[in-house]
Amino acid sequence: MKPLARRSVLRGLGATVALPFLEAMVPARRASGAVAPSNRTRLVCVEMVHGSAGSSAIGIKKNLWAPAAVGRDFDLSPTSLRSLEPFRDHLTIVSNTDVDPANPFTATEIGGDHFRSSAVFLTQSHPKQTQGGDVQAGISLDQLYAQRFGQDTAIPSMQLCVESVDQAGGCGYGYSCVYTDAISWAAPNRPLPMTRDPRVVFDELFGVLRSGTTTAERAERLAEDRSILDWLISSAARLAGTLGPADRSRLADYLEHVREIERRIQIVEAGNRSGEVRDLPSEPIGVPDSFSEHVKLMFDLQVLAFASDITRVFAFKLGRDTSNRSYPESGFAGAFHNTSHHSGREDRILDFATINTFHVGLIPYFLEKLKNTPDADGSLLDQTLLVYGSPMGDSNLHNHKRVPFFLAGRAGGALKGGRHLRAPNGTPLANVMLSVLRRLGLEHLERFGDSDGAFDLNAV
């Protein structure tokens, strides 16, 4: 029987839903693993701003970010990474690297750290100080990967964020707001806009925005609380009739997952439309007030996108420089930016570590979902690489030394995981990113940002 094409979709009026991996997609004469894993790695790059408590002098001594031991026998319990313990075998922590391109190069750039750092994180390039349209940084890590391996998916890459990033013009110290708001750069002069509203992401993933439906039709669907699956019932039933029992079950689970996420978005929209006082009154209807709910929705959408191979690349910006958002769910209600300016006091450094721990604590939710989602060679977690870090080190000093950074996932076997690697003093984070890109298949890349060499991610 002719195998089902990997790019098969369920199509209905107003929506197109890509399918998850099904056994029916594997030719009968080939075993599982028929799809070459080398170019199937999913990449998620997560940026958090304001560095970490573990980058301060006290935080280093207390191992608030990097574990004390290098190698495989590291103890995560004092660190902000402790929630990742169940995934330690998928974890590669790289400590003691610097992001020098985020430093000032000229007198007028001194003091502008918050306004240029995010543009540096994934580019490792020094941004041009300008508030005009002549912005300049470098091609970002996610885009180098997407340009090479993302072109045969429906969407080469997507850029998501949690904080408001729609400010225009200049943000401070002569820097365009685009440097603060964008972490993905398709070209040195082409930052990519980021999407904050889960509804917009959902509609983009499932073809609603590309399906030819009118704004009025989409509004009608939203008003009636209908599901995009309502448009696909006959198409799904037709496909299910051609599948074996295991695939039928997998398809049903997948569509239920799509529906569950859509339902959660609808609940958020209904709550925000109800007239109840919001914590974030000026935000779009689709944006949850709860930080963790917002992040989890965004992660769920990424899992769906990976499962259906709509895209293989996400950049995800969790914060915005100088944001004073608070995270009561962390157990500490202080404002983020103010708390990051801890004056070197141990009690305040520990408060900041509580926020760092909370942020990292949202990652296992994503990793667990990936682990529980089948893919050609096992689970999606096996085929994914998550990059997490910040371009700032000790925010109290506004420096870019000893920045927080880790990798999660084995990237289709490219990384062994289960390691804490401490770089020699002065090592550019760009060396690590260069090696990440090479491991992901860009073997011939000679340099990345200010790299001056490679970094062995599988050492020990």
Binding site: F105, T106, A107, Y173, N396, H398
Partner: protein, 139 residues
């Protein structure tokens, strides 16, 4: 020339150089490292605020600017500075003209052995310690 004569001359030259160096350093003269250039000043308020300090040294005379942070985040104002260096201690003063009431800034500091200026910035009755490292200007 005997060996003893050579040694006496060398000792005399060394002594003269030592006195000259000492006098020069006391006056911030030509043998002391020039402070001319851009300094990344870490001003210790509640946290460490990076501030640009640009200096020009001409003999013992110092002129320059400091980009002072304001209430409007990301919009510093440049304040002109004048002062001197004496016995290794730099002293600079300037006035923030754009403030509602002109505010005087006073900066004192010394260059330490590691090439870092350490000192205090006084403004509105508050003394804020700082360290300033020379910026390696890059394109």
């Amino acid at each position: 020339m005997t060996t003893m004569m050579k040694a006496t001359i060398a000792t005399t030259i060394l002594a003269v150089l030592t006195v000259a160096t000492s006098v020069s350093a006391q006056h911030g003269g030509t043998d002391a490292p020039s402070l001319t250039g851009t300094w990344n000043m870490g001003l210790q308020g509640g946290h460490v605020v990076p501030v640009a300090l640009v200096l020009k040294q001409n003999g013992d005379i110092l002129t320059g600017t400091i980009s002072m942070p304001t209430q409007r985040v990301g919009q510093p104002v440049d304040v002109s500075l004048k002062g001197d260096i004496s016995h290794g201690t730099l002293t600079l003063t300037g006035t923030v003209e754009s403030a509602k009431e002109p505010t005087t800034i006073g900066i004192t500091g010394r260059l330490n052995d590691e090439g870092i200026i350490e000192g205090t910035l006084a403004m509105q009755g508050h003394d804020m310690p700082y360290t300033a490292e020379r910026l390696k200007e890059r394109k």
